[in-house]
């Protein structure tokens, strides 16, 4: 019978939270195993930073700021496993069992302790034509920029709401490829929000200033920006050809081949859901987040650090990574050293300060909750199984009252992305139609595998033997 591999502590994800957690553990003399899907450490925010393809003048300081963390991570004594997907996760006594797929080979691991740092993903936000080639997430465009300094050959149109939208526009401007148009879909009421919450505005002043500076640079360079855009459609036969938007109550359209959208980011839910961790709807962030206590613990020997626990940004993720690392060390029964206690206090204070600015950002970039309910019936909600808003509404009319029922009736969420891109849309639509809260409605039941795995990959190693 093949052996299960064992580790005292596993970390899933090598973004800022996962790297910081692993570093803290390794400084305490532990040797964590770190599983990460990507080829190089850094997560999305610090992607490719170990061997940057673009410089700081182009990407902005936030990107380069991650360099010391990435450098420390790659030189520390950590069992770092890139290109590794955790496709299965379950409780195993007081610990956890992980099915890991590493470059075509499946392995089974037992971890006494687990830090989940699997980060965030773009919020799936259906609008007519969003499945057309030529429509991509702004985050994807940024990945191309980081991976190999790739820029669109023709000026793109950017649309959506969130800090990333203007940041990408600004980066493209620096790179000599300014966007043709920025469609800002943040709520028109946001300036009122600022006036109503002067304390929050003060906490968030550095973010506000930065945003204003980006917008001023874009305007000065002549980039067209429409604020208060309230509708979006993409059309074309085999790829995107036209972009339609509603501005000041009127629909307008223009030709375009590349539309980059961004409607905020939400925690990547799959591993947390497959463990059936309790989640609650976070009204400010407009998404589900896992329940965590003050030590970031979400269960026995389990901690969640970074954006996977609620969106807080890269700096906060790094702090939470260290904090989760300290909490894991404390759970081993080790007495806290003076230095560790002082660092913990400092991190907690910095985290409080940083998170105080968050509600302001959330309010500035709110997405309209009723959006999907107002989209035309042919709008795809589940891209994988091609399920439309109209079909979902029919199922609701026939008595479908929960996400799992809608899934059974329509196949919505049954495709290869396993509902990652439609799950919260379905919750939202049900909330709009039945006037219940998202907490009341809930989310799909998620069962492993959380990544597609072939029988060949399963057979390629010892995984199935271990269950004999």
């Amino acid at each position: 019978m093949a052996e299960r591999r064992h580790t005292d502590i596993a970390v899933i994800g090598a973004g800022p939270a996962g790297m910081a957690a692993a570093l803290t553990l390794s400084e305490a003399g532990l040797r964590p195993v770190v599983f990460d899907m990507n080829a190089t450490p850094g997560g999305q925010i610090y992607r490719q930073l170990a061997a940057p393809q673009v410089d700081a003048t182009l990407m902005g300081q936030e990107y380069i700021a991650g360099r010391s963390l990435v450098d420390a991570f790659v030189t520390a004594d950590i069992d770092y496993r890139p290109l590794s997907r955790v496709w299965w996760l379950d409780r195993d006594g007081e610990g956890y069992v992980l099915g890991v797929l590493q470059q075509g080979h499946s392995q089974q691991w037992h971890a006494d302790r687990l830090i989940l740092a699997s980060g965030a993903m773009e919020r799936g936000w259906p609008f007519p034509g969003w499945q057309l080639p030529g429509v991509m997430y702004a985050g994807a465009a940024q990945i191309l920029l980081k991976q190999a300094a790739l820029l669109p050959s023709a000026a793109p149109i950017l649309a959506g709401s969130g800090p990333l939208l203007y940041l990408l526009a600004w980066q493209y401007l620096q790179a000599g490829r300014p966007p043709a148009l920025v469609l800002d879909m943040a709520p028109a009421s946001r300036y009122r929000t600022l006036m109503r919450h002067p304390v929050r505005a003060w906490h968030g002043r550095s973010y506000l200033l930065k945003g204003m500076r980006l917008i001023a640079d874009l305007r000065r360079a002549g980039v067209a920006i429409r604020q208060g855009v309230s509708g979006l459609r993409a059309s074309g036969s085999d790829a995107l050809e036209r972009i339609h938007y509603r501005h000041a109550g009127t629909w307008r359209s223009l030709p375009g081949t590349l539309l980059l959208t961004h409607f905020g980011v939400v925690p990547e839910p799959q591993l947390m859901r497959s463990l059936q961790l309790r989640q609650h709807w976070q009204h400010e962030q407009q998404c589900f987040v896992p329940d965590r206590d003050a030590t970031l613990s979400a269960g026995t020997n389990l901690w969640i650090a970074g954006d996977g626990g609620g969106i807080g940004g890269a700096r906060n993720a790094e702090r939470e990574g260290h904090l989760a690392g300290f909490a894991a060390i404390a759970s081993l029964g080790r007495q806290p050293t003076k230095r560790r206690s002082a660092t913990t206090r400092r991190l907690l204070a910095a985290r409080r300060r940083d998170l105080a600015a968050r509600p302001l950002l959330d309010a500035l970039f709110r997405v309209p909750e009723g959006w999907l309910a107002e989209q035309p019936p042919e709008t795809l909600v589940c891209r994988c199984e091609a399920v439309t808003r109209g079909e979902l509404d029919e199922a609701i009319a026939q008595g479908g009252s929960g996400p799992n029922q809608l899934k059974a009736f329509t196949r919505c969420g049954m495709g290869p992305c396993q509902g990652r891109q439609c799950g919260e849309s379905v919750t939202r639509l049900l909330a709009s139609r039945t006037r219940r809260s998202p907490d009341d409605i809930g989310y799909y039941h998620i069962r492993p595998p959380v990544h597609s795995i072939t029988l060949g990959e399963l057979a390629a190693d010892d995984f199935d033997n271990t269950n004999n």
Partner: protein, 98 residues
């Protein structure tokens, strides 16, 4: 299409891949999906089970829109696999797999 910026750090290392039968050199830091977007753009990337054309959406392993045939194996997640010297890549642009 996505082209390489003149502002890219030089020298960039490249690998040779065979993409739909044609040998092309692409930066070695790219994923398969990114390499295809670089060489051919999003048109013709993939045809979905419902018959509609599709192309990568997220490039970070979430949406599964980047499925592509790599070294003979269909439906690989192209955005999670880095390009390698000699890799054989075929777009699933005509007939839907799976």
């Amino acid at each position: 299409m996505f082209r390489r910026s003149e502002r890219a750090r030089q020298p960039g290392r490249c690998v040779a891949i065979r993409l739909d039968g044609e040998v092309v050199n692409v930066p070695d830091t790219l994923s398969v999906a990114a390499a295809v977007l670089h060489v051919h753009g999003w048109r013709g990337y993939r045809r979905h089970l419902d018959g509609t054309p599709r192309a990568p959406l997220c490039l970070m392993g979430v949406c599964q829109e980047c499925l592509i045939t790599i070294d003979g194996l269909p439906n690989r997640q192209g955005c999670l696999e880095p390009v390698r010297e000699g890799m054989v890549i075929e777009r699933q642009g005509d007939d839907p797999h799976g």
